[in-house]
Symmetry: C2
Subunit: 349 residues, 2 copies
């Protein structure tokens, strides 16, 4: 990369308005609810009929949420958009519009920011979302990415965290722990590189877990499947902090307890093998790793027959009375207290 | 402050979820369109009837947009909210909901963040806005504040930047240049303090301009006045970059030129006197200073009789054909090209 640095355009050459012109070039809006996108003091939207508007925002900071050393700008843009789409999926809705604010230090080139936006735009295309606004400014330190997503759902279809009842089944889509193993691989190769810059990173054979970490997807397809099967979850959240922490969010909001069965937690074979290599119990990666962006939800027991036939969904436990606490039944059949050791950005490590 | 540091609570003691619980304590939503606020993966809103939803976001970064040395946390919170409300006013709408994301370094105490939120909540109360969500994370460097505002307007009432025609009158609310003079005073006293920490800052007699800089207001009252007088501007923007830059945004979007009359630019006496003290032409502070958050808008000439009676509004020029360019007629009757030297966060100083 360093050899070609002379071709890169410093941000100061374009200025804020020049950069905005460049990154918003060719953006067209497609959703009917988007009345006016980029180019004014505010964007204008109007969801049709009885629909409600869902809104969520996320802040991603360099050195906290991502490490520029191993995060390609395009992937970072894609992930920044997708983790927000995931919040809308977690409400049983569909993402429709996105606003992106960036704070960018002088070390970044115009081309790097274009790469970032290329990832954001790709995510918008894949998920049918309109990029309708944002804010661009300089940063005195690292890269700051602030995303706001707007989604839609019929009012009666919205699923909150708070609707679960005792005996509801706890379900999760896809598999868990992969994103965390991807992070461990990247951190390992970073350390190896720092010790000896001449060695090549060993990233082959880790495609799946690296993708889980660097380019996750939002499970809007699961929202579609649930709608098609006419299943309305009683509560739902996306797995961003780790299964343990996120199921406890559902319990807290729903005023229930839970029992999670360790052997039912879905773990991909590559995640399993790599966890063993790192001397980590694979389910610990699933319970505390986070960033998998799978959907964790509860359903009434009446829906069991429908759900058990859906390959994308695993039933991993059930809700209980709050008085029974939050429990994990281990593979050797011990019942232990579930402890959330999910990533908390503010707590001391 | 240092003497009482021992009483302050480090952020690490609470963690992310503890901090969120603390700052969201007691928040209630009041607007009918707010269906669900803080506490889930996304907030849920539904504007009534034929209304449209307006959305805007702003990123405020320590060391770029504010200096912690002279910015009280409570004022900073208030300003972060209000500059976003101003974007909604600039669309001729009313702000209704706010989401706040913060990234906060270890140097901040829980109490400091509570002060910040106290300012945000005060702004929400004053403007009738519901705080409905956000994101809280640690920052590896300075304080990051990301705000997203949601507003409402009847679809036909929305005013864009692009609707002005040649001969439309250019109007501005309130007075200009004060916020910039406030910044100069604060910077002067900061330098004096850095040279000799024992001297007291000279801030008395500067209440008005300091308030313009540290605790600006959004001109939602002007939106009300225009509605009451049944005046719909043909184009509108808020003065955040400076009059010159912002009128040029209207011209660019509306494909017009403009003539601004220097002697018509409204400048408060304290701004005027202080500009003289700093050896600055007062109108230059108004043209290039920015951050006044007044509304700059155009109206059809037919509305002249109605507008000239409104004390909050000054008529400062008129739109022309694009071919005539953007002009300033100076007080000594020279016509010069209007140049935007507004604050551009990405350009080299």
């Amino acid at each position: 990369m360093e050899d070609s640095n002379y071709k890169l355009t410093p941000l100061s050459e374009l200025g804020e308005f020049g950069l905005i012109d460049k990154i918003t070039e060719g953006i067209e809006t497609k959703n009917k609810s988007t009345l006016f996108g980029i180019g004014d003091d505010a964007a204008v939207i109007q969801p049709g009929g009885s629909k409600v508007t869902l809104i969520s925002k996320d802040l991603l900071l360099e050195g906290v949420h991502f490490d520029m050393m191993y995060t390609p700008m395009k992937h970072l843009g894609y992930k920044s958009a997708v983790v927000n789409f995931s919040d809308i999926a977690a409400m049983n809705g569909k993402p429709k519009q996105l606003l992106i604010g960036i704070g960018v230090g002088a070390k970044f080139s115009v081309e790097a920011i274009q790469e970032l936006y290329s990832g954001i735009k790709t995510a918008c295309e894949v998920y049918g979302v309109d990029l309708i606004g944002g804010d661009t400014t300089s940063s005195a330190s690292g890269l700051v990415i602030s995303a706001t997503v707007i989604g839609e759902a019929e009012k009666d279809d919205v699923v909150y965290r708070s609707g679960a009842k005792a005996n509801d089944l706890i379900c999760v889509s896809g598999d868990l722990g992969g994103a965390y193993m991807g992070l461990l691989i990247l951190e390992r190769e970073k350390k190896a590189f720092q010790a000896d810059p001449n060695i090549q990173p060993e990233l082959t054979q880790h495609d799946y877990i690296l993708q889980r970490q660097l380019k996750p997807e939002a499970r809007t397809t699961v929202v579609d499947i649930l709608a098609k099967e006419k299943i309305k979850p009683t509560s739902m959240i996306d797995v961003s902090d780790g299964l343990a922490s996120d199921v406890m969010h559902l319990c807290k909001a729903s005023k229930t307890g839970c029992v999670i069965s360790e052997e039912k937690i879905p773990i991909d074979q590559t995640t399993f093998d790599l966890a063993k290599e790192f001397n980590i119990v694979p389910t610990v990666a699933a319970l505390n790793g986070g960033e998998d962006y799978e959907l964790l939800f509860t359903i009434s027991q009446d829906e069991y027959d429908k759900v058990k036939e859906i390959p994308e969904i695993s039933i991993i436990g059930y809700m209980t009375d709050a008085s029974e606490g939050e429990r994990l039944v281990t593979s050797d059949n011990n019942s232990i207290e579930l402890v959330a050791q999910g990533w908390d950005a503010l707590k001391k490590k």
